[in-house]
């Protein structure tokens, strides 16, 4: 009976790099992927900044015809999956495809495709709506296109939990291996709705930073002057396999996935519970399910969006769970560099935490210039630094009050 699950491959397609080497280098160096996006400027939106991936070329990862039949969130998922497989040194032919699971989650799926085809319907009539509309926009295509392109025939799942979606993917992927439903799992998330409709709704919600003139300084989690998050696109997929299988094939192991916790606030459609009760309970559940004492955690890869409420409440929840130890552990938010990838954010954070554990380096929270009395932890401000890291939590808290936390550890015997 298998008891241990590890991460052996990381496939990032992100605003700070495509592929694990560039991604990690950018995290370590504290590079921002935020820019003023021409299509948002042209549309005259209040928010004209986002973290997108203009250099992404789908034809590098799939043939042109397959790419035409996918919305961008699926293209990104396929690319991330291929990068993860390659990074893990996997030969998929060596695996029974029926025993490989695909769990690629998303937040908004094909919202942009819906917007585009709604315009076609209104401007040119129902006869001109693309026959590909439904199979392009449906959120489950995140996993299904990966399954089709890579020939994976085991459990294929896409679930939605807003900004916690792809934390859930690691919890579910691990369970599929432990429960014997699969021997290998691709787990991750994808999001690509940097478009006027996607941005306008969030902007009118006052969730987004309006620092249009300083794109790279706009995402400032835990900083006193934070004014909202920066919307991002991307996909991150990781390879999960059992420790036995990874050892048997001599794979490089980034980190162990110890366990996770999921809770609901049952409070509000967008605001977190003011006491951070649901978030704290998710962290406690992750610790309990991982058989970890709070003192075993050296690093929290925070949800850390850069909104006034989230960062203060997440800090409060960390105090609540960790007590005195809260001041000793390090907390940082990769969203300071990548923006908020929504449905892909949890997978991006899990990848960042796994790389932090593997390399013994804490990625920074860039743009953290001024402390805030409500945010009084060690956020690894501005610069990465080396650290002895044993275990980390990855936080993801979604609109609707869905909270997901997964615990990762540097591999020990």
């Amino acid at each position: 009976m298998t008891e241990r699950v590890v991460i052996t491959g990381i496939g990032p397609v992100t605003p700070i790099g495509i592929g694990v080497e560039t991604f990690w280098e950018s995290l370590r160096e504290g590079r921002s992927g935020v820019r003023r996006v021409p299509s948002l400027v042209d549309a005259g939106l209040k928010v004209q900044i986002a973290a997108d991936i203009p250099e992404f070329e789908p034809n590098d990862f799939m043939d042109a015809k397959a790419a035409r039949r996918m919305a961008r969130f699926s293209q990104l998922a396929v690319a991330a999956s291929q990068l993860a497989v390659a990074d893990a040194g996997l030969e998929l032919e060596d695996w029974d495809p029926e025993r490989v699971a695909t769990v690629v989650n998303t937040g908004g799926g094909g919202v942009t495709t819906i917007a585009d085809q709604s315009a076609v319907l209104n401007d040119r009539g129902p006869g001109r709506v693309s026959a590909l509309f439904v199979p392009m926009m449906a959120g489950n295509m995140a996993s299904c296109q990966v399954s089709i392109q890579l020939g994976l025939r085991g459990p294929t799942i896409t679930s939605l939990a807003a900004c916690a979606s792809s934390v859930y993917a690691f919890i579910d992927g691990r369970q599929l291996l432990l429960g014997g439903e699969a021997e290998l799992a691709l787990a991750g998330g994808t999001e690509s709705n940097v478009s006027p409709l996607g941005i306008a709704g969030l902007a009118n919600m006052h969730a987004l930073s309006r620092r249009n003139d300083e794109p790279t300084r706009a995402s400032r989690p835990f900083d006193r002057d934070r004014d909202g998050f920066v919307f991002g696109e991307g996909a991150v997929v990781c390879i999960l396999e059992t420790l036995e299988a990874a050892r048997a094939r001599g794979a490089r192991i980034y980190a162990e996935v110890l366990g996770g916790g999921r809770t609901a606030d049952a409070f509000h459609i967008t605001a977190p519970d003011p006491q951070g009760e649901g978030a704290a309970r998710a962290m406690r559940a992750a610790l309990r399910n991982s058989q970890l004492e709070p003192e075993a955690i050296d690093y929290i890869c925070a949800h850390g969006t850069g909104t006034a409420l989230n960062d203060a409440i997440e800090t409060r929840a960390i105090h609540d769970v960790f007590g005195e130890h809260a001041k000793r552990l390090a907390v940082s938010s990769p969203k300071s560099m990548t923006g908020h990838l929504m449905g892909a954010a949890g997978a991006l954070s899990a990848a960042a935490a796994a790389l932090a554990l593997y390399h013994g380096v804490l990625p920074p929270t860039i743009n953290h210039e001024h402390s805030d009395p409500e945010c009084d932890l060690d956020y690894v401000p501005q610069r990465s630094r080396p650290a002895e890291l044993r275990a980390a939590l990855v936080n993801g808290f979604g609109f609707g009050g869905q909270n997901g936390v997964v615990a990762l550890a540097r591999l020990s015997e």
């Binding site: 043939d63 042109a64 015809k65 040119r124 006869g127 001109r128 693309s130 026959a131 590909l132 199979p135």
Partner: protein
């Protein structure tokens, strides 16, 4: 000015992501150019948009579209509709 045939061949190549030289008059959309039913619907829409004018909206009914299976049949159909 490119001919109707040039425009149709280019459009089919673009829509089906096939090299232009494969889009010969006798090429079969499904057997030679790898289209499926979804591709053919979108190709039909693209043809309608390409050859519609302010005065003359081209509409290809589904029952007609289902009969068109080769590049030449598409050209013949357009000619019969007065597209020149």
């Amino acid at each position: 000015m490119s001919t109707v045939q040039d425009r149709v061949q280019q459009l089919i190549a673009d829509q089906l992501r096939q090299p232009l030289e494969k889009v010969t008059s006798d090429a079969h959309l499904i057997d030679d150019l790898d289209a499926d039913s979804l591709d053919i619907v979108d190709l039909t829409i693209a043809i309608e948009e390409e050859f519609s004018t302010e005065e003359n909206q081209l509409e290809i009914p589904e029952e007609d579209a289902s009969e068109i299976r080769t590049v030449q049949q598409m050209l013949d159909y357009l000619a019969a509709q007065g597209v020149a």
